[in-house]
């Protein structure tokens, strides 16, 4: 098949534009959530006992007494240039906080993915080779059950086992100042494990279905019939095709992951984006909250574009179709 470069470009441009449109709608939702939902922002921040004049003054100072459209434009036009507004709590620009927190969260999420992707694929392929047997059914059920247990529950169990009883791993992610990356990884293993447990079932399920389909396909039968060894067939024909859907699911998990981070980062005292959103929600620091939430949305949008790119690079059919 001839590789049509303009078709590739058009496909990717379309996906990128769609993501941008989604992000634009998201920014409106986030903005309305932070500005409109509280009703009176000053009242929500200062509390029911605050003086009416103080509330009015606060609203004027932070600019929420202006028309909504003006506020939205002001907010989003600065946001895309990197100025995310001023925190109510810290009276300082929000962007540096969000940036530092995002880096921390990406470290944690990165470690979780490094652990869960190979484990999940291995589990899925293992189950696919035993399809219909008890061990297949047991693994699927186990993965599914682990996937529905809230992260704080698995965290508690993991802390008890590895932190309290075995004393193998530190119970908080708060590593000493200036720790090297190896120490950082050591402190991050325990917080990343609940994410691994939640996602294992998803990755394994997709890899399992992909492998079963690839094992069933005509090209696999042909490969076996033409005399390739089983390991060659697995590597060249089965695994390569089974991995495609797995990549897409991993990218979509990235968005979901941030929800788990809220709980896990709070529990393990880790200064990531989840803990930032949580603290901002507690303190009713709406500029910080909006910036954190929209950043999570942007990371998700970026991840899905990257997943499209990766799928396109791996799958010739996608390069011209769609």
């Amino acid at each position: 098949m001839r590789l049509d470069r303009s078709a590739v470009a058009r496909f990717l441009a379309k996906r990128a534009l769609l993501s941008l449109a989604t992000l634009a709608i998201l920014s409106v939702i986030v903005f309305l959530g932070g500005q409109l939902l509280p009703g009176d922002v000053g009242r929500a921040v200062l509390g029911p006992l605050a003086d009416a004049r103080a509330v009015a003054l606060f609203n004027h100072q932070v600019g929420v007494d202006r028309p909504l459209l003006v506020q939205y434009w002001e907010w989003i036009s600065h946001f895309v240039l990197g100025d995310m507004g001023t925190s109510f709590t810290f009276r300082a620009p929000v962007a540096p906080f969000v940036g530092a927190a995002l880096v921390n969260s990406l470290k944690l999420a990165g470690l979780a993915f490094v652990l869960v992707v190979p484990l999940g694929i291995a589990g899925g392929v293992w189950a696919a080779l035993r399809v219909g047997r008890f061990s297949d059914r047991a693994l699927v059920l186990l993965g599914q059950s682990l996937g529905v247990v809230p992260e704080f529950i698995s965290s508690i169990v993991l802390i008890l086992i590895f932190g309290v009883w075995l004393r193998w791993l530190p119970m908080s992610a708060d590593w000493p100042e200036g720790a090297g990356w190896l120490t950082q990884v050591r402190y991050l293993i325990l917080p990343s494990l609940p994410l691994v447990l939640v996602f294992f079932g998803y990755v394994a399920r997709v890899a399992r279905v992909g492998t079963i389909e690839a094992l069933d396909a005509d090209y696999t039968r042909t490969a076996i019939l033409k005399g390739l060894t089983m390991s060659q067939v697995m590597r060249r024909h089965v695994l390569r095709n089974a991995l495609l859907p797995t990549i897409t699911v991993v990218a979509s998990l990235l968005g979901y992951l941030a929800g788990g981070l809220v709980v896990i980062e709070t529990l393990f005292h880790y200064r990531g984006i989840g803990a930032l959103i949580y603290a901002a929600a507690r303190a009713k620091d709406f500029p910080m909250l909006e910036a954190g939430v929209l950043t999570v949305g942007a990371v998700y949008a970026l991840a899905s574009v990257l997943a499209d790119l990766l799928s396109a690079a791996l799958n010739p059919r996608l390069r011209v179709g769609a």
């Binding site: 449109a21 989604t22 992000l23 709608i25 998201l26 939702i29 986030v30 959530g33 932070g34 939902l37 509280p38 929500a44 059920l141 599914q144 059950s145 529905v148 247990v149 809230p150 992260e151 704080f152 529950i153 508690i156 169990v157 802390i159 008890l160 932190g163 309290v164 119970m171 968005g255 979901y256 992951l257 941030a258 929800g259 788990g260 809220v262 709980v263 709070t266 529990l267 959103i277 949580y278 901002a280 929600a281 507690r282 009713k284 709406f286 909250l289 939430v293 999570v296 949305g297 998700y300 949008a301």
Partner: protein, 283 residues
């Protein structure tokens, strides 16, 4: 599949037969049923008063007197775990019900009417899905304040677009079948076609979707309660109990382990029911 030839009554009987044989479904129902009984009759089942302090017996390890030990205020943990099923089993199903009713209506409307409304709503649904539900809920609850009522409303509204999406795609399939144009030719109004003609045919999908959502709702209510944005003290809710005690985990494991186990068993039980139901409806 033999579905096409089977008469409706024997299909229903076949489904019952599969349901009664499904170990997954029955195990799930047993677990769920256990906690529902605890939620309904907890006050009578609990061996001791779950709210009574006993400052002479604080943080006592499990013993014959207190099978699950006592907490920081000397309250009997077994009794609190039993009564703790109550609030989550009120809030999560109500939120699911709200989301299902709203989502099914919205899904029927956009799936049947299509047009620009469908495009717009579908885009908004996609945008909402770019955010984890916990974060959407956190943001909304920070804005409107936390109480059992607002948790129900927020989770219900967050579920609405997700359920609408599932119902919409089922409605799209149904709209192509002969009975829908037939009803239209007969002169039935859009509302009548949506709710009288199409709805009964998508109900199995709605039912499965609802149990899936119930599992998620329990997951969210538990997580939100744990971080202080869900059910509020003095409820004996499991998430709250774990939040209050997890700093003691190093020396007093029993103050969190039983609540954690209860939460895990409930979500896994609901998940087993979902799984079992899905296979029954596939029959």
């Amino acid at each position: 599949m033999s579905e096409g030839t089977a008469a409706p009554r024997s299909l229903a009987r076949e489904r019952w037969r599969v349901a009664l044989r499904s170990a997954t479904l029955l195990t799930g129902l047993a677990i769920l049923g256990f906690w529902v009984v605890c939620a309904l009759f907890g006050a009578r089942i609990a061996p001791q008063d779950p709210y009574a302090d006993n400052l002479l017996a604080t943080l006592a390890p499990p013993s014959a007197a207190h099978l699950f030990g006592t907490d920081q205020l000397g309250r009997d943990i077994l009794s609190r775990v039993i009564i703790g099923a109550r609030d989550i089993l009120i809030v999560a199903p109500l939120a699911t019900l709200l989301g299902t009713v709203l989502g099914t209506s919205l899904g029927l409307a956009i799936g049947y009417l299509r047009g620009p409304l469908d495009d717009l709503v579908s885009r908004v649904i996609e945008a909402v899905q770019a955010l984890p539900l916990v974060i959407v809920a956190l943001m909304a609850l920070a804005a409107v304040g936390t109480s059992n009522d607002t948790v129900v409303l927020v989770i219900g509204f967050v579920f609405t677009p997700l359920i609408a999406r599932t119902v919409r795609s089922a409605v799209l399939v149904e709209s192509d079948l002969d009975y829908v144009p037939a009803a239209r030719l007969r002169g039935d109004g859009a509302l009548a076609i949506m709710f009288i003609e199409i709805l009964p045919n998508v109900l199995p999908i709605v039912a499965v979707e609802m149990t899936v959502r119930l599992g998620y709702a329990i997951f969210f209510v538990a997580s939100l309660s744990f971080i202080g944005f869900g059910i509020q003290p003095p409820s004996a809710d499991w998430g709250i109990a774990i939040a209050e005690n997890y700093s003691l985990i190093g020396s007093y494991w029993w103050t969190v382990v039983f609540d954690a186990g209860a939460t895990a068993s409930l979500v896994i039980g609901v998940n087993l029911v979902t799984d079992g139901l899905a296979s029954v409806f596939e029959t």
